[in-house]
């Protein structure tokens, strides 16, 4: 019995005290809640295919276009059945014939980047429209910047 009493005193009481104390503490926490941590994502956020933009008379990538291409790579990985057409486009400046070549180089640059990032090249087709299919019909730098692009179309 003595040993039981001892056990009660040494283990049960402190643990009861601990539980009471803890519940007090929890009640206080309800009164002033800390910001809850963001919930861990159950389903991964779906990436979107996005266009990649270029400087005038250029088919070179920059950090912004590379980060969009990384998202496009992620999308291809998330959608393993999908394939895409990458359309190369130019702004209305410059001449039509040269821009068909430039548009193709833009589309191919995007495709090569994604191929190097592990995407099967047979899932990506390219086509150049030169300056024939502008996204924005305007005649200023705002419009031109939107039109110098590699445009991704999922099939």
């Amino acid at each position: 019995m003595k040993s039981l009493k001892f056990l009660f005193r040494t283990l049960i009481i402190p643990s009861l005290l601990f539980v009471v104390g803890c519940s007090t503490c929890c009640r206080e926490a309800v009164v002033a809640p800390p910001p809850p941590p963001p919930p861990a994502p159950v389903v991964p956020v779906s990436t979107e295919l996005g266009d990649v933009f270029f400087a005038f008379d250029s088919a070179l990538l920059n950090t912004v276009s590379e980060s969009q291409l990384n998202e496009n790579v992620q999308w291809m990985n998330d959608n393993p059945e999908a394939s895409v057409v990458i359309e190369g486009h130019c702004d209305e400046r410059g001449t039509d014939e040269y821009n068909i070549a430039l548009g193709e180089r833009r589309a191919e640059t995007a495709k090569n980047y994604m191929t190097n990032a592990g995407v099967d090249p047979s899932r990506m087709q390219t086509v150049s429209y030169g300056e024939e299919r502008p996204f924005d019909p305007g005649h200023d730098e705002d419009a031109w910047a939107k039109n110098r692009r590699a445009h991704f179309v999922a099939k």
Partner: protein
């Protein structure tokens, strides 16, 4: 005064040679004067009195006035003549059709500044029209040409243009434009298809069914075949169409096909393919088979244009960064850079008669302007000024004119100008047009 004048024909030839060879850059915006007098540079249009066609029977007057109008429009189009209203007292002693009685009053012609007189008589038998045409040197009274033209009344345009062609050939020594054809891109309702028409845009017919995107037409030297790019089915193809049979050869290589051009003196054409991974120029036969690769460089090579003898090819390359024009010697393989001024030089067009190359420059102010330069890189001359975007120059078969597209009016239209940039005017076709291609030589004999 008259006695001291050298022979008109040689003067005209000399004037013309000066006109296309050494005339310095001119403002395109100069006012169009109907009668351009001798300028300080000694360059002018030939002052021509074009007498209305006479006809013995009043009922044929409508044919006469219709042919008069066609002749005048045709000669105006060439930019070679200043057409002067005929003085009233030009014929004396009888009517023009009374060949035995009447005479031409050359003093009256000289007094209005005419140097050439052209006139004639129209007759009609059944449905056949006859034009009896005379051309005189108005200063010496010498008969320069007399010729009878006959044709069906259903085709007065061809009848009138045969006379125009002979008149022009007499002064230039070259086959005239009047039998040549043009191809161009017509934009209607957001769709681009290729049209074929006579030299001035008359009688345009759509010859492609691409479904909305056909580009860069190139007429073969004999006007029998048309090469162009079409996006049928969302993929670009090079098509070579036989205009007589409508048979189409479709070249379905991987990648782009851009801006074909025919090689003079052969049945070959050059175009850009990218099946090799890069945009390179190739020679191919008109049956679509590739005969030779012409360029090998990691950057863009496009827009071929051949010299009249087919030995050299101007083209656009970005191998030095921005697009510039280069010349490839097809026999030696050597490549020389042609353009150094400006950062964006494209669309070369080699004159079918000379060593001049027309091209376009995109300038800092956003304008695109047409220039010409000799094949050796000298003699750079600007032909268009302050008129927005002027693109896609294409030479007339005689090398006296350049056709191009311009959006100076707000919409893209076809224009022609003399080879020195003067006399710029619209073809006034409905809708919008671009990328003209003028056949370099005529069909052999006419089918009048």
């Amino acid at each position: 005064m008259v006695m001291n004048k050298p022979n008109l024909f040689f003067r005209a030839l000399l004037v013309f040679a000066l006109y296309i060879a050494v005339f310095p850059a001119l403002l395109s915006a100069e006012p169009v004067k109907e009668y351009i007098k001798i300028s300080k540079e000694g360059v002018k249009r030939i002052p021509l009195v074009l007498k209305h066609l006479d006809t013995e029977k009043n009922k044929n007057k409508q044919y006469a006035s219709e042919i008069d109008a066609i002749v005048k429009r045709g000669l105006d189009f060439t930019g070679l003549f200043a057409i002067i209203r005929a003085p009233l007292n030009i014929i004396s002693g009888g009517e023009l059709y009374q060949a035995g009685k009447r005479s031409i009053n050359f003093a009256a012609l000289s007094s209005v500044g005419a140097e050439v007189y052209a006139g004639g008589v129209l007759e009609k038998k059944g449905s056949t029209l006859s034009l009896d045409m005379e051309v005189y040197d108005a200063l010496t009274g010498k008969l320069l040409m007399r010729k009878l033209y006959q044709g069906d009344k259903g085709n007065m345009r061809k009848l009138a243009h045969r006379f125009c062609g002979d008149l022009v050939k007499m002064f230039t020594g070259k086959p005239s434009i009047f039998e040549s054809k043009i191809a161009f891109v017509q934009l209607s309702g957001g769709k681009k298809e290729i049209c074929l028409a006579e030299f001035d845009g008359y009688g345009a017919v759509v010859v492609t069914r691409s479904g909305g995107l056909a580009l860069t037409p190139a007429l073969s030297p004999d006007s029998r075949k048309l090469a162009y790019l079409t996006y049928t089915g969302g993929k670009p193809d090079l098509q070579i169409k036989d205009l007589a049979t409508d048979a189409i050869v479709s070249v379905k290589k991987k990648g782009v096909k851009i801006d074909p051009a025919w090689r003079n003196g052969t049945v070959e054409l050059a175009t850009t393919f990218s099946f090799d991974g890069n945009q390179e120029l190739y020679l191919l036969r008109d049956n679509g088979t590739i005969t030779r690769r012409l360029t090998r460089h990691g950057m863009i090579d496009v827009s071929p244009a051949f010299s009249p003898d087919g030995r050299k090819m101007a083209f656009v390359s970005s191998r030095h960064g921005s697009p510039q024009i280069f010349i490839l010697d097809l026999f030696s393989g050597s490549v020389k850079r042609l353009t150094y001024e400006g950062k964006y030089n494209t669309q070369p067009a080699w004159s079918p008669v000379g060593d001049k190359i027309a091209f376009t420059t995109m300038q800092k102010n956003g304008e695109i302007n047409i220039f010409t330069v000799n094949a050796d890189g000298r003699g750079l001359r600007q032909l268009t000024y302050r008129a927005r975007h002027n693109e896609a120059p294409s030479w007339s078969p005689d090398g006296t004119m350049i056709m191009f597209s311009s959006d100076r009016s707000g919409r893209k239209k076809l224009y022609v100008m003399n080879a020195d940039g003067r006399n710029q005017r619209s073809l006034r076709l409905g809708g919008q047009q671009m990328q003209p291609s003028w056949s370099t030589f005529q069909l052999k004999s006419s089918s009048y």
